[in-house]
């Protein structure tokens, strides 16, 4: 007898238990605010319920829900513009990227790092240290791999400002990871 493995997940009454935590984690990495992440997850489920006819089963329910959540996050950025401070963009504000002496190339593999709970604590702590606008740009670029063009449309910034923001975010994140993770090893 053929068993439809997807069948239970298609039942919306089970979505929250089956996908709630996963969607929440997806959102909280990106927006770094648990209340906001929970709101976005709620919006996602309600939109999915409304649009359930649009789900044709070409992908898993999880993938479908995650796609809706991605849009919710971007809508949130669009609707709640984050102020880009002049001081965040001024090139003279650039610190010398490697003013401290660099120890060596980082050896640990990304695949093993993301299996390490302690590393997640350090990574999320470092993200929390970025200015909001920089974190948004960085998150879309590095977590989701959106193009500069796509990100500029969401954030409504010039190409130059986007590059400066990303450079600043990378510089700061690199230093924070060096101090709190790689340098400790």
């Amino acid at each position: 007898m053929a068993v439809d493995r997807e069948a239970p997940s298609r039942d919306p009454s089970r979505w929250v238990d089956e996908h709630g935590d996963a969607l929440f984690r997806f959102a909280v990495l990106r927006v770094r605010d648990p209340d906001l992440a929970a709101d976005l997850v709620q919006d996602t489920f309600l939109s999915a319920l409304k649009g359930i006819e649009g789900f044709r089963g070409g992908s898993s329910v999880r993938t479908w829900l995650t796609g809706i959540l991605k849009h919710k996050i971007i809508d949130h950025y669009r609707r709640n513009k984050s102020e880009v401070l002049e001081s965040d963009l001024h090139p003279e504000g650039d610190e010398l990227a490697h003013a401290e002496s660099l120890r060596s190339a980082w050896k640990e593999s990304p695949a093993s790092l993301v299996e390490d709970r302690e590393f997640w604590t350090v990574l999320t702590g470092c993200l929390d240290g970025l200015p909001e606008a920089h974190r948004r740009a960085f998150s879309m670029r590095e977590f989701d791999g959106l193009s500069g063009e796509e990100i500029r449309k969401v954030l409504e910034v010039t190409p130059t400002n986007l590059w400066v923001m990303l450079h600043r975010a990378r510089t700061k994140l690199r230093r924070c990871l060096e101090t709190n993770w790689f340098g400790e090893k």
């Binding site: 919306p12 009454s13 979505w15 929250v16 238990d17 709630g20 935590d21 996963a22 969607l23 929440f24 984690r25 997806f26 909280v28 990495l29 990106r30 648990p34 929970a38 997850v41 709620q42 489920f45 309600l46 319920l49 409304k50 999880r62 995650t66 650039d94 010398l96 990227a97 490697h98 002496s101 660099l102 060596s104 190339a105 980082w106 990304p110 695949a111 790092l113 993301v114 709970r117 997640w120 604590t121 990574l123 999320t124 960085f138 670029r141 590095e142 977590f143 989701d144 791999g145 500069g148 190409p159 986007l162 590059w163 990303l166 450079h167 990378r170 510089t171 994140l173 690199r174 990871l177």
Partner: protein
């Protein structure tokens, strides 16, 4: 044509987001031949990029945190309510 480390660091970031001009690419390459620190810096930026891409993909499993039970209940309630009242 010659770059200082600050410019090199900026270009190392920008080349992750756009195609640099040939002039910038050559200047950067020359600088990197001479400057060990910038080479290490560039490889660390690569690692930041690869770790974050991996983290973006694994977040739903590994990022710390879960949806609080009270929120789960609220969402379930909202989902069973009549759509006109949501």
């Amino acid at each position: 044509m010659s770059l200082n480390c600050k410019d090199a660091a900026r270009l190392l970031s920008e080349k992750r987001d756009r195609r640099l001009s040939w002039r910038a690419r050559i200047s950067l390459r020359l600088h990197m031949l001479a400057c060990k620190m910038c080479k290490v810096y560039g490889s660390q930026l690569d690692t930041v990029g690869r770790v974050c891409r991996e983290a973006g993909l694994r977040a739903e499993h590994n990022c710390p945190g879960e949806l609080p039970d009270e929120r789960k209940q609220r969402i379930k309630d909202a989902m069973t309510r009549d759509p006109r009242d949501r």
